[in-house]
């Protein structure tokens, strides 16, 4: 049974279609990335899954429970981190965690471990939340979402506001959840984050699901924009190098697109005296859509 399944899930506000016929399946034990620009319908989809919104059409199930009629049973098994999470300013971090754990009616079995990994010591937790920085609030948000060891974690922009060290700690938590067979459904704008932790990724645009793909498959098809600055000599002979396309040379500066294995391209560059080299990885959305455009043409 999939952890999440939606069929033609639609949400309309008058003439506006916030979500249009979303068909999605997230497998149990999978880490699933959900990408899209602001207003694409990501939050609408998440809020429909959590029962905050009622679908205009279509249906959805989480662990086999209907999102409309069995929302409470669903939320019993979910841990949710909203984007830009809000807290009660006058309560301490610990009071929040205790209060939310009591509402979950599940023991906060993971709390100590999460607080340890995210560097939220007891001294910090005993302070009122209004004194917390954005990063500390986000860490508290992650702990409240996962402290009761939910079967499904729904995380909206979870690494927002975390410093690189804490992001790494957060990824380690996700990897551990994955090893333990927990399902994670999260939205993000950060390519490296999605690549690092997700099994599959979906992209949503204008309320519609544009594509769903395995990360491993995307990686093999991904291209990079390369700029090479070289010293002297003519244009390098790159036309026959595997994976290289769109070569443009202007003076001592060359740009091209390299897809797949970058090795042959780097080998070809040894013929040049390279002064500078820039390799830009496309945003996942670009790579993703490019991949799908290609596939549509073939």
């Amino acid at each position: 049974m999939p952890a999440i399944r939606t069929t033609g899930l639609t949400k309309r506000y008058g003439a506006i279609r916030a979500l249009d016929g979303l068909d999605l399946e997230v497998q149990d034990g999978e880490v699933f990335g959900f990408l899209g620009p602001n207003g694409a319908g990501k939050s609408t989809a998440i809020r429909l899954i959590l029962g905050f919104l009622h679908p205009t059409a279509g249906s959805g199930q989480v662990f086999g429970h209907d999102i409309v009629t069995a929302s409470v049973a669903i939320r019993q098994r979910i841990g949710y981190l909203p984007g830009g999470i809000a807290f009660y300013d006058t309560l301490t971090g610990l009071e929040h965690l205790d209060f939310l754990a009591r509402l979950n009616r599940r023991l906060p079995t993971r709390r100590a471990e999460l607080c340890d990994r995210l560097e939220l010591p007891a001294r910090t937790l005993s302070r009122v939340v209004r004194d917390y920085s954005r990063g500390m609030r986000q860490k508290l948000g992650i702990v409240q979402a996962l402290q009761h060891d939910p079967e499904l974690a729904v995380l909206d922009e979870p690494s927002e506001g975390l410093d690189p060290l804490m992001q790494r700690a957060f990824y380690a938590i996700l990897e551990q959840l994955k090893r333990e067979g927990r399902t994670v459904f999260f939205s993000s704008h950060v390519l490296s984050e999605v690549e690092r932790v997700c099994d599959r990724v979906a992209i949503i645009r204008g309320g519609r699901l544009a594509a769903v793909e395995e990360i491993a498959r995307l990686r093999t098809r991904r291209w990079r924009n390369v700029t090479v600055q070289f010293d002297g000599g003519g244009a390098p002979p790159l036309d026959n190098v595997a994976g290289v396309s769109d070569v443009e040379v202007r003076g001592n500066r060359m740009t091209c697109r390299v897809s797949g294995d970058i090795g042959p391209f780097l080998a070809a560059l040894t013929q040049l005296r390279v002064v500078d080299l820039t390799i830009e990885v496309p945003r996942l959305e670009e790579a993703f859509l490019d991949f799908y455009d290609d596939r549509a043409m073939t």
Partner: protein
């Protein structure tokens, strides 16, 4: 009712509740003392015809009798403002305010039915109002004792007065919560509840001061707060039933509307 939610609400409101209750207690002490000290003089002035009788009978209260003074303590703007902290402010913000701040979605991401959340908040509002009104009536009793007129106060009927006042302010709390469940933001929820309370208050006061406008009083819930009648042992169940119906109507609306509402992302 959800015990965890109830405790949480209590924790957030307890200091405010203590201050309001203290304020109402202090205020409740005054009218009996004023009655004991100046009641006769005021009545003499009134009987001399210097000013119309209506001007000395604010709402259903007056200062020519102890029961009138107790009634005045409940209908006076000071009491209204203090009880409105919970009857209007707390109730109007309980759902819409939390929704606007974003804390509602953190709570509702837990396995809690919206109706359970609603009844937990309604129960909290009633508890806070119950304590606040009890503090005011306790102030009246203490003030009466201090002024040496406690014997004139039918203390055994105070619980019925408490119930009458609870139903009135409970109705406003229920209306506030219904508004809170109906709006996405705090200001319209607060504004609509406040408008209802103020209009009803004006209808009652206007009707009590101006005989030609007396017919307006029956449209005000304040008119069914019958403190003097209740203390005189002549309370009619209809007054209580009308207030209870107002509570039931507002609760029914909220219970119907809140689970069906879409809770889109906080603004």
């Amino acid at each position: 009712m959800n015990a965890a939610l109830f405790r949480h609400t209590w924790r957030l409101q307890r200091i405010k509740l203590a201050l309001i209750s203290l304020g109402l207690f202090a205020w409740g002490c005054f009218p009996p003392v004023i009655y004991a000290r100046f009641g006769v003089q005021f009545e003499t002035m009134l009987q001399s015809g210097i000013f119309p009788e209506q001007f000395a009978r604010f709402g259903n209260g007056d200062i020519f009798s102890l029961t009138g003074a107790v009634a005045l303590s409940l209908i006076h703007p000071i009491a209204l403002i203090l009880t409105s902290v919970f009857a209007v402010g707390f109730s109007a913000g309980a759902i819409a305010g939390e929704r606007q701040r974003g804390t509602l979605e953190v709570v509702l991401a837990r396995p809690i039915e919206r109706r359970v959340l609603y009844f937990s908040l309604l129960g909290s509002a009633f508890l806070f109002l119950g304590i606040a009104i009890a503090a005011l009536l306790a102030g009246c009793a203490i003030g009466s004792a201090f002024a040496g007129v406690l014997a004139q106060l039918p203390v055994a009927r105070l619980p019925l007065v408490w119930l009458n006042a609870m139903l009135l302010f409970g109705a406003f709390a229920a209306i506030g919560l219904a508004a809170s469940a109906s709006f996405d933001r705090f200001s319209p929820a607060l504004g609509s509840t406040l408008a209802i309370v103020v209009v009803m208050y004006l209808l009652e006061v206007l009707g009590s001061l101006w005989p030609d406008a007396a017919f307006l009083q029956k449209y005000s819930l304040f008119h069914y707060l019958k403190v003097k009648t209740t203390l005189a042992g002549a309370a009619t169940p209809v007054d209580f039933a009308i207030l209870a119906a107002a509570v039931a109507g507002a609760v029914g609306w909220a219970v119907l509307i809140f689970p069906k509402r879409d809770l889109s992302a906080p603004i």
